[in-house]
C-alpha cells in the first residue's frame, strides 16, 4: 500500500549525496529520479540557456560510452532518459524494468558525473534547441507566459529569464561553457536521488553508493536569488500574432516562497479560486457560465524565492476584454467577500484526498520525495501534510487572497490575433 505511509529510506553518502529509496511492487519497474541543484537560475549571467543546452547534451556521451553506445543501451532496454531543467533543478529521470535497474543506474551515474559533451553532439543539439525556440516564438501560450514572467521578474532576475535562452546565445555557447557549468555546479553535495519501485530500499541504497560513492568533489557555494518586488501598478502587454486563431491570456502576480508561513492558506485559496473541479471560481465564471474559454485556471508556484501566481485562459480575440473583466471581477469579489467555509472545506478535502492518486505510481512517489527533500519538508511529510491543511482557518485563507491578489497591481499579457 502506498497511501498509508511512504516512510522512505534516506541515506547521505559520505560525499554528501542524498538518496531516498522506497520499495513498491505494483509493477516490475523502477523509477529513478536524479536532481542536481543546477537549474536555469544557475546560468551564468548573460548566458541564459546554458543549463538547458547542457541538458540536451549530457546524455549523449560519457568517459566510457559514445553517444551511439548509449543509444543502443537505452533503446535495447526500451527506456527513455528525460532530462529536465526548472528554475532550481537539473533533473534526470528514467523508468526501467526492475531487471535492468543496476545497469541503468550505472549509466545515469556516468552521465551525471562524467559526461563527455562531444562537439558533434553539441552542434546537432544546438539545431534542435534553436528550432524549439523558434516554435516557442510561434506559440501564443508560451509567448504569454514568458512575457509575463519577464515582466514580473525584470532586470535579469533568474525567474524572468527564458529557460531555453535566446537564439543568439545558444549559437554562441561552446563546449567549454557547458564544461564550466558542469565543473562548477555538479557535485555530490548538490545531488538528490530518488529510487522507487520493484527493488528493496536497502538494495537501492547499496546500488546508489556503488555508483555515486566514489565521486569526490567539493560543493559549490549556493547562489543568492535577488529579491522579488511586487508590481507597483497595473500593466497590460499585448503580443500581436495575427497568424493565430485564438488568444492566450496570462495574468499574474509575484506571490510567496515555499517556506512562507502563509503557504497552506495560499495553496487552499488558490485551489478554490482557480483549480477546484474545472478551474474553481474562475472556471465557473469564464467557462461554465459565460462559455468563453476551453481552459482557464490559476497556478501557484511557491519556490525558493517568491514565485508567481498565474491565471491563464485561452479565448477568442473578441472576448479578451470580457475575459479580463471577469478575472478582475472574481478577484475583487474574492478580496472583498472572501471564500465561504464550504469552499475552503471542499478544497481541503480535495487536496488531502488526492494524495493516494499522486502517490500511486513509482514516478509520482519519486517526484514527491524529491519535493520533500528540496524544500526540507521532512520524511513524514506525507503523513503531516493533512494536518497543515486542517490548521488553515477561513480568515487565514481570506487574508491570503487579500495579500496575493490585487487588480490594481496585476500584470497581464495577451498574445494572439489581438491588437489591444
Amino acid at each position: 500500500m502506498t497511501s498509508t505511509r511512504l516512510a522512505p529510506l534516506r541515506a547521505v553518502l559520505d560525499n554528501g549525496a542524498v538518496f531516498l529509496t522506497k520499495e513498491a511492487t505494483a509493477t516490475p519497474a523502477v523509477a529513478i529520479h536524479l536532481a542536481m541543484r543546477c537549474g536555469s537560475a544557475y546560468d551564468p549571467s548573460g548566458a541564459p540557456g546554458t543549463a538547458w543546452l547542457l541538458s540536451r547534451v549530457i546524455d549523449r556521451g560519457t568517459l566510457t560510452r559514445s553517444a551511439g553506445e548509449i543509444a543502443e543501451e537505452l533503446d535495447g532496454r526500451g527506456i527513455t532518459v528525460t532530462v529536465a531543467v526548472t528554475r532550481h533543478l537539473f533533473s534526470v529521470f528514467c523508468t526501467c524494468l526492475s531487471e535492468d535497474f543496476d545497469q541503468v543506474l550505472a549509466l545515469l551515474g556516468e552521465m551525471v558525473i562524467a559526461p563527455s559533451l562531444p562537439e558533434a553532439e553539441l552542434s546537432t543539439r544546438k539545431g534542435e534547441v534553436v528550432t524549439a525556440i523558434r516554435q516557442d516564438e510561434d506559440n501564443p501560450a508560451v509567448r504569454a507566459s514568458e512575457t509575463l514572467m519577464a515582466a514580473l521578474y525584470p532586470d535579469g532576475h533568474p525567474y524572468g529569464r527564458p529557460t531555453k535562452g535566446t537564439i543568439d546565445i545558444v549559437e554562441r555557447l561552446t563546449r567549454g561553457d557547458l564544461e564550466r557549468l558542469h565543473a562548477e555546479r555538479f557535485a555530490p553535495g548538490r545531488l538528490t536521488g530518488a529510487i522507487v519501485g520493484d527493488v528493496p530500499a536497502d538494495r537501492a541504497q547499496a546500488a546508489a553508493a556503488r555508483v555515486f560513492g566514489g565521486w569526490r568533489k567539493p560543493s559549490p557555494p549556493e547562489i543568492a536569488i535577488p529579491p522579488v518586488h511586487r508590481a507597483a501598478e497595473r500593466r497590460e502587454i499585448v503580443v500581436t500574432m495575427m497568424n493565430k486563431a485564438q488568444t492566450d491570456i496570462a495574468y499574474g502576480f509575484t506571490a510567496i516562497t515555499r517556506g512562507d508561513p502563509d503557504y497552506y492558506a495560499c495553496l487552499l485559496m488558490n485551489n478554490a479560486f482557480g483549480q477546484y473541479a474545472i478551474g474553481g471560481r474562475l472556471g465557473d465564471s469564464i467557462r461554465e457560465r459565460q462559455g468563453m474559454a476551453y481552459y482557464v485556471s490559476s497556478a501557484l508556484d511557491a519556490n525558493v524565492a517568491a514565485g508567481p501566481l498565474v491565471i491563464r485562459a485561452g479565448v477568442s480575440p473578441a472576448n479578451v476584454a470580457r475575459a479580463v473583466a471577469s478575472i478582475d471581477e472574481e478577484i475583487a469579489r474574492l478580496v472583498a467577500e472572501g471564500l465561504t467555509a464550504k469552499e475552503l472545506d471542499e478544497s481541503r478535502r480535495y487536496l488531502i484526498g488526492s494524495m493516494p492518486r499522486a502517490l500511486e505510481t513509482n514516478a509520482g512517489i519519486a517526484a514527491f520525495l524529491q519535493n520533500e527533500e528540496f524544500f526540507n519538508l521532512g520524511l513524514d511529510y506525507d503523513v503531516r501534510m493533512p494536518d497543515f491543511l486542517h490548521a488553515v482557518t477561513l480568515d487565514q485563507a481570506n487574508a491570503a487572497a487579500r495579500r496575493l491578489l490585487d487588480t490594481g497591481r496585476a500584470t497581464m499579457v495577451v498574445a494572439g490575433p489581438y491588437q489591444g
Binding site: A26, T27, A29, T124, Q135, D138, Y294, G353, A363
Partner: protein, 429 residues
C-alpha cells in the same frame, strides 16, 4: 505484482451492459470508466463534432444531480474525472479513493440515462467547443494532422476531425445533440470498467443496483463505408505565416485486429521507437528512439529537430502517420527525401534480426510501463473492448513476440507503398 488481463471478470447485465472488473489491491483507489461505442466516425455530414459536443453536455447535470452539485461531486473524494472522444469511442472516467465507488457508479448511471441538455447549457458549450477548436488551430502540427487525415480519406468518415468542422459547430441544434445522445447512450452500446482495490462480487451487486433498471435501446446504427484502396500519392501544402515548418506522411494502415497490425507496430518501433498501445498514456513519455532508423536519418543528420510515428489501435483501418519538425533553416524537401529514402530502404531490404529483437524488447517494456496505475489498466480494458476485442489487448505480448522479420517485410511492402501515402507540408507563406 500486477498480472495481465487474465484477472478480468466479464459479465453482461440483462439490458446488455458489458461489465469488466479487475481487482488491484496495490493502492486504496478505484477507477471507473464508462465506454460508449460511438465516435466521430459515426457522425453524418452536417453533424460533425456531435459526439464530442455530446461528451461535453454530459458533464452538465442530470435528473438526480442538479447542475450546481456537479462541481465537487468526485473532488470531495480527492478524485479526478475526465472524458474523451475520438474516432471510435466516447468515454468517461473517475479515479478516486475506493470509498467513492458507489458515487462513481451513480454518476455513470446518471450520465447514461438522465442528462438534461438545457438549451442555455447547449449554447454556452457551443462557444467553449469553438474555443477548443481555435486553440487546436494555433498548433501547426495539429492543423496539418487534421488536414492530412481529411486528404488521406475520401469516403470513410474517419476523414473529419473529432472536434468537427466549424460550420457544423455553428449550426448544430439542441435537438441534434439530444437525439444523438438518446440513440447511442444505451446500456447495450456501453462497457463499464472497474479496476482497483475492490471486491468483484461487491462491484457486480452495486453495478446491478445502479444500472440494472436502465432500459436497453435499439441497436446503434453502424456505418458501412469502406475506404476504397488508394491508387496514387496525394499531397497537401498549407502555407501560413510560421516560424517552423512541419512534414507528415500518412499511410492507410490495418485496424487493431488486422493481420499486419502487430508487424507494423514492430516496424514503427524500428523506424521511430516503440510507443506501446495505450492512447491514454503511451504518447506522454518519449519513445526510446535514438537508434531508430528515422531518428538517425533525420535528427542525427540535423535535418529534423524531432521525428515521431503513430500507429494507434482502431476499429477500422486508419492511418500510420510519420511526423517531422524541420530544423530551423532546413527545407521540407530535404526532410521528405531523407524520410522517403529510408522507407524505401526498409521496403527493399527489410529489417535485421537484431532490429526485430530490439523492437520486441522495447514493446515488452512499454506494455509494462503502460499499466502502472488503476486508471491506465482500466483504460486498456475498456478501449480494446470498444474498438473490437479485449483479446487483442490480452494477446498483445504474445502477438508481438511472434512477429517475424518476414511479417514485418510484408507489412512494409503493403503499407509503405508510394500509392498508399499522403504527404503533408506546413510551409512558411
Amino acid at each position: 505484482m500486477r498480472s495481465a488481463p487474465a484477472a478480468v471478470t466479464e459479465t453482461r447485465l440483462d439490458n446488455g451492459l458489458t461489465v469488466l472488473i479487475q481487482e488491484e489491491h496495490t493502492a486504496p483507489l478505484a477507477s471507473v470508466w464508462c465506454w460508449y461505442k460511438v465516435g466521430s466516425k459515426d457522425e453524418r455530414p452536417g453533424l460533425t463534432g456531435v459526439s464530442h459536443w455530446v461528451e461535453h453536455m454530459n458533464f452538465k447535470g442530470t435528473a438526480n444531480i442538479p447542475r450546481d452539485q456537479v462541481k465537487g461531486i468526485i473532488e470531495q473524494f480527492g478524485g479526478s474525472w475526465n472524458g474523451y472522444t475520438w474516432i471510435d469511442q466516447t468515454t468517461y472516467l473517475e479515479t478516486a479513493t475506493k470509498d467513492a465507488l458507489d458515487r462513481m457508479l451513480f454518476i455513470e448511471a446518471e450520465r447514461m440515462a438522465s442528462c438534461l441538455y438545457h438549451p442555455d447549457d447547449c449554447e454556452s458549450e457551443r462557444t467553449v467547443i469553438i474555443s477548443e477548436l481555435e486553440g487546436g488551430e494555433n498548433d501547426p502540427d495539429q492543423l496539418l494532422d487534421q488536414e492530412l487525415t481529411a486528404t488521406a480519406f475520401k469516403a470513410h468518415p474517419y476523414r473529419h476531425p473529432t472536434i468537427g468542422w466549424l460550420p457544423d459547430l455553428q449550426s448544430m441544434t439542441r435537438d441534434d445533440l439530444y437525439g444523438y445522445y438518446r440513440r447511442y447512450y444505451v446500456p447495450n452500446n456501453a462497457t463499464l470498467v472497474v479496476v482497483g482495490d475492490v471486491e468483484a462480487g461487491d462491484v457486480r451487486r452495486r453495478v446491478e443496483r445502479h444500472f440494472g433498471s436502465i432500459a436497453p435501446g435499439e441497436p446503434a446504427p453502424r456505418i458501412r463505408t469502406v475506404e476504397p484502396e488508394q491508387t496514387g500519392e496525394r499531397r497537401l501544402t498549407i502555407r501560413k505565416e510560421t516560424t517552423t515548418e512541419y512534414f507528415k506522411a500518412a499511410f492507410h494502415a490495418p485496424s487493431a485486429t488486422g493481420e499486419d497490425f502487430f508487424p507494423l507496430l514492430v516496424l514503427d518501433a524500428v523506424l521511430t521507437g516503440a510507443k506501446g498501445i495505450n492512447l491514454w498514456s503511451s504518447f506522454r513519455v518519449a519513445p526510446p528512439q535514438r537508434s531508430a532508423r528515422l531518428y538517425r536519418a533525420l535528427v542525427e543528420r540535423g535535418l529534423a529537430s524531432s521525428v515521431s510515428g503513430a500507429l494507434i489501435p482502431t476499429e477500422q483501418p486508419f492511418l500510420y502517420t510519420l511526423s517531422a519538425t524541420a530544423t530551423d533553416g532546413v527545407a521540407l524537401a530535404a526532410v521528405e527525401s531523407a524520410l522517403l529514402e529510408e522507407l524505401d530502404r526498409v521496403r527493399r531490404h527489410a529489417i535485421g534480426d537484431g532490429e526485430l529483437h530490439k523492437a520486441q524488447a522495447q514493446l515488452r517494456a512499454r506494455l509494462v510501463f503502460d499499466n502502472d496505475s488503476v486508471t491506465n489498466i482500466a483504460h486498456q480494458l475498456g478501449y480494446f473492448t470498444t474498438i473490437g476485442r479485449l483479446e487483442t489487448f490480452a494477446e498483445a505480448p504474445a502477438r508481438i513476440a511472434a512477429v517475424t522479420v518476414d511479417a514485418v517485410a510484408q507489412a512494409a511492402q503493403r503499407v509503405l507503398a508510394d500509392s498508399n501515402r499522403t504527404i503533408g507540408w506546413f510551409q512558411r507563406a
